[in-house]
């Protein structure tokens, strides 16, 4: 068994244990056993190779938001929901404080390596094939370039803050674009629609009320 595959499976197992903590016994053992079975099937089908390690890690990372959402759904129906929410809020407060003091500089390093690793991963998993085009290779190259720019910018900030921050911002642009497309733009669209909808509703309702008032007079 490849050490990386064992590490990925162990990470997925630990994550599953973490997000199922506090659930009732049935839900907890079912989810843990199901992930255990999946990891085994996945690892065995790819002979616990490096590819298995990468795929298992990716599947675990990419599924984390869904896992968290599933966990929240379980909590809503459980008796301990209020206690869990209170604990989570308390932890979130402490995490926010830590992020503000120490996390942000560390995060740029993590982000840089994540981009570099993600870029390399895409380039390795989807090598250039003339019939399929170079889409993933371009995205992979972009990721590697972005990671290197963030890394370089961070080391430059103490001595040359302007060029350091510019490099960091340029490197983080892909992430900003993703945030813009998935969070900021939809929220802005929703705000505009709500505002316009309320205005249209008021414009439609006003003449009717005026008419009703003139009728009653």
């Amino acid at each position: 068994m490849n050490a990386a595959a064992r590490l990925s499976a162990g990470f997925a197992r630990t994550w599953t244990r973490a997000y199922t903590l506090g659930l009732d016994t049935n839900a907890k053992t079912d989810r843990r056993a199901e992930i255990e079975s999946d990891l085994w099937e996945h690892g065995t089908s790819l002979h616990w190779s490096g590819r298995a390690a990468l795929e298992m890690a990716l599947r675990c990372f990419l599924g984390m938001p869904a896992d968290a959402a599933w966990r929240a759904e379980q909590a809503r129906t459980g008796e301990r929901a209020a206690a869990i929410i209170a604990t989570l809020l308390h932890r979130a407060e402490r995490i926010t404080e830590w992020v503000a003091r120490r996390g942000l500089p560390g995060m740029t390093t993590v982000l840089a390596w994540a981009f570099i690793a993600g870029g390399l991963l895409l380039t390795l998993l989807f090598p250039f094939q003339p019939e399929k085009g170079a889409g993933m290779v371009v995205v992979g190259g972009w990721g590697i370039g972005a990671g290197l720019a963030i890394r370089w910018g961070k080391t430059r900030i103490p001595n040359r803050p302007v060029s350091g921050f510019l490099a960091l911002a340029a490197g983080a642009a892909p992430l900003s674009l993703i945030l813009l497309a998935t969070v900021i733009a939809p929220l802005a669209a929703l705000a505009v629609l709500t505002f316009e909808g309320r205005r249209a509703w008021a414009a439609w309702r006003l003449p009717k009320e005026a008419l009703r008032m003139s009728d009653s007079q």
Partner: protein, 107 residues
């Protein structure tokens, strides 16, 4: 995701049983460019489908798994309601697609 799971389940046979990893592989085979569905997305969707009555699930016999020296699989099966929901969704998609094509026809 839920429709993709139901579609892949039906491809395997209406009465066939399947397990999480197998369905993830089958969905990937249907679309070669995609990665295997992540654990969270897959099992959350399967959980919802079971709760909605579109799939049933059971744990396989422990002895079978022990004989093959592997962890037990959770086996899912498409219900009649699941099959009918899938057909309905396919019909709706086909009619929407036809309406769209019709809208682009020259007058």
């Amino acid at each position: 995701m839920e429709l993709a799971i139901l579609g892949a389940a039906l491809e395997g046979g209406a009465d066939a049983e399947f397990y999480g990893y197998a369905i993830a592989r089958q969905m990937q085979a249907g679309d070669a460019s995609r990665l295997l569905t992540s654990h969270g997305t897959l099992y959350k969707a399967l959980d919802r489908l079971v709760k909605a009555g579109l799939l049933t699930s059971r744990w396989e016999d422990a002895q079978v798994a022990a004989d093959e020296e592997r962890p037990r699989r959770r086996l899912y099966r498409l219900t009649a309601a699941g099959e009918s929901a899938l057909r309905q969704a396919e019909r709706a998609a086909a009619s929407a697609s036809a309406a769209l094509v019709e809208g682009f026809q020259p007058l």
